[in-house]
């Protein structure tokens, strides 16, 4: 039974700036089902940060929601009041951020911070501390009871990130949003965290929305993948479909460029020439057209996100044989 937990439906978000409207998200649509891990892959400027801030409504003052809905358990979050959103944050929806060195309040002990975020639970402080210690143990922090009394600076970066995950999972959220949680960590720590996340997800059964630009981690962790480029979803599908049978030129190029799979020393590494388009001055037609080596005439129209097979969507005219022919 796959129940849809989060449904992003044709979401469009702009930033109002002096230079004009920055079209940060355009017609974004994808789902996250209960208990599944969905990865969002994209490079700088693709809109991942805007997407997360839109879901949690932790937005900059010049953000404008132009269109669309964000449905969580059937409810459109965009119609909720700030108080209702606050009830949701850290409760049913939790988040782990990118920089573990800045996540925690440096002048409050970890124990106190972990007790504080249990403010919804009607349990005693002692019970909250016990829960906190249990969570620290679950993320692999040795000697948790003693460490609750320590301050963030007494933990390494990798440990702090694990604490952040522990804190995010304490409320047993339905959805955990992980915003590049391993980008700031060394590779060996990264794999530790990924393994840990996999185990925890199995135990807690929450859905995870995992944002990263690291293809290898996405391939290892996620069930489904959404590929974003310059504010649009260009492809989405199961992890196998995306990596073994990509249907969008950007996805293909992205996978090619990842040096992780280039085993032999390459004199010239593949790249995607050109720059990400200016979101305030969008080109006509397909957003990837200027950098695509397979562009054809009909790319002057914006291709719709089309369903190509069960669970595999792509926004590219090349998949419409009749258009290209």
């Amino acid at each position: 039974m796959t129940e849809t937990l989060l449904e992003i439906d044709n979401l469009s978000v702009d930033y109002e700036t002096a230079r004009g409207d920055l079209k940060a998200l355009r017609d974004i649509s994808f789902d996250v089902n209960r208990g599944e891990i969905v990865g969002i892959v994209g490079e700088s400027g693709c809109g991942k940060s805007t997407l997360i801030s839109a879901i949690l409504r932790l937005i900059a003052p010049n953000t404008r929601f132009r269109n669309g809905a964000i449905r969580f358990k059937g409810d459109d979050l965009l119609t909720r009041t700030e108080d209702q959103m606050r009830a949701l944050r850290g409760g049913d929806i939790s988040i782990v951020f990118q920089d573990p060195m800045q996540t925690h309040n440096p002048v409050i002990t970890i124990g106190k911070q972990m007790v504080d975020i249990q403010h919804r639970a009607m349990t005693s402080k002692k019970e909250k501390l016990a829960t906190a210690a249990k969570m620290l143990g679950a993320v692999g922090i040795p000697d948790p009871e003693a460490r609750l009394k320590q301050y963030p600076h007494e933990f390494s970066g990798g440990m702090r990130q694990r604490i952040a995950i522990a804190m995010a999972l304490m409320s047993e959220p339905d959805l955990l949003i992980a915003d590049e949680p391993t980008t700031a960590l060394d590779a060996t720590l990264e794999v530790q965290i990924i393994e840990r996340l996999k185990d925890l997800q199995r135990d807690f059964g929450c859905a995870i929305l995992f944002i990263s630009h690291h293809l290898g981690v996405i391939a290892e962790l996620c069930d489904r993948v959404v590929v974003m480029y310059a504010g649009a979803v260009v492809e989405s599908g199961t992890v196998r479909e995306i990596f073994h049978n990509p249907k969008h030129p950007y996805t293909r190029r992205l996978i090619e460029c990842d040096p992780g799979h280039i085993k032999a020393r390459a004199r010239i590494l593949p790249t995607i020439p050109g720059e990400v388009p200016d979101l305030a001055n969008l080109p006509d037609g397909c957003i990837f057209r200027d950098r695509c080596d397979q562009a054809v005439a009909c790319c002057a129209q914006v291709p719709p996100l089309t369903r190509l097979s069960e669970g595999h969507n792509a926004a590219c005219w090349l998949n419409h044989a009749e258009e290209v022919a």
Partner: protein, 292 residues
């Protein structure tokens, strides 16, 4: 994300951008107008004043405000309004050199303290703390006793006592920037301390100091007024707002308009410069943040 929101048009000069930013803020605009008026009237005082501010006219003494004398006359028959305008000139003649001098010296010493060897830092901090521990009025008394009261004395006293303020701020900014990657890069290229401080540190610090200076001007004006009120400031017959206050205070029942004439400009100047300074700070600050 910062580069999405950053403004990429650099067609206008930085100063124009700052002024435009200040003008957008209502309080900043008020500050800009007040300060602009004060500066204007100070610069063009000689042409604006209806009467010679030091010309005595005993028959007309102690007149109330009227058509001929907007703010009346004082006990020597001098036109109050003209003295108020000239007082503005005096106020700025003291404030601007004093603050500019204090800022320059404070900036230099502060940067050296923040970047140089520890012993020099300790020495300079000791120096600053010593200066700050002197009550300004006592210090002024001592200097006046030595060299007599005058405009220059006031400028000197004000400057000397303000140096530690700018010095401390410059030092803190320098200490913060000292370990930034771009300073490290300059050191990696072999830049000398003078170059690092002058070319790379200074532009990043001066904004903060300028804001401080703008907010400091009313303090200095009040300081000058205070010293002049005590008779330690400018020599008569030079008009200064403090002197006006003093004259008016002595004969407050007969010539209350002198107190207004002396006090109101100080209040307006304080308000104006403070609004301007705060607005400046808001405009300058987020620009610095763009560098993330």
């Amino acid at each position: 994300m910062t580069d999405i929101i950053a403004d990429t048009s650099k067609s206008r000069s930085e100063l124009a951008i700052i002024i435009a930013g200040v003008a957008r803020d209502p309080l900043g605009l008020i500050g800009l107008i007040i300060v602009g008026s004060i500066v204007f009237s100070a610069v063009f005082a000689s042409w604006i004043v209806p009467y010679d501010p030091i010309a005595m006219n005993i028959p007309d003494r102690m007149q109330g405000p009227s058509g001929t004398h907007l703010l009346g006359t004082d006990q020597l028959g001098r036109d109050t309004f003209s003295r108020v305008i000239s007082g503005g000139q005096v106020a700025l003649k003291v404030a601007l050199p004093a603050i500019f001098g204090a800022m320059t010296i404070g900036l230099t010493l502060g940067m050296i303290a923040g970047y140089g060897p520890k012993w020099l830092d300790n020495f300079l901090m000791l120096l600053f703390d010593t200066i700050r521990s002197f009550p300004t009025v006592m210090f002024a008394l001592a200097v006046v006793a030595l060299v007599g009261p005058s405009l220059q004395t006031v400028v000197f006293v004000v400057m000397a006592t303000s140096i530690p303020t700018y010095g401390r701020v410059a030092r803190t900014q320098t200490l913060t920037l000292r370990n930034s990657e771009f300073i490290l890069a300059e050191r990696a290229m072999g830049a000398s301390m003078a170059r690092i401080l002058g070319v790379h540190m200074l532009p990043n610090i001066i904004g903060v100091l300028a804001v401080l200076a703008a907010m400091d001007i009313p303090t200095v004006i009040a300081l000058e007024a205070g010293l002049s009120f005590l008779g330690l400031g400018v020599k008569p017959p030079t008009p200064s707002w403090g002197v006006l206050l003093k004259d008016g205070y002595a004969l407050i029942r007969q010539t209350p308009w002198l107190v207004v004439g002396g006090g109101l400009p100080i209040i307006l100047a304080t308000l104006g410069f403070t609004f301007l300074g705060e607005s400046l700070r808001d405009v300058v600050d987020p620009k610095l943040r763009k560098n993330r």
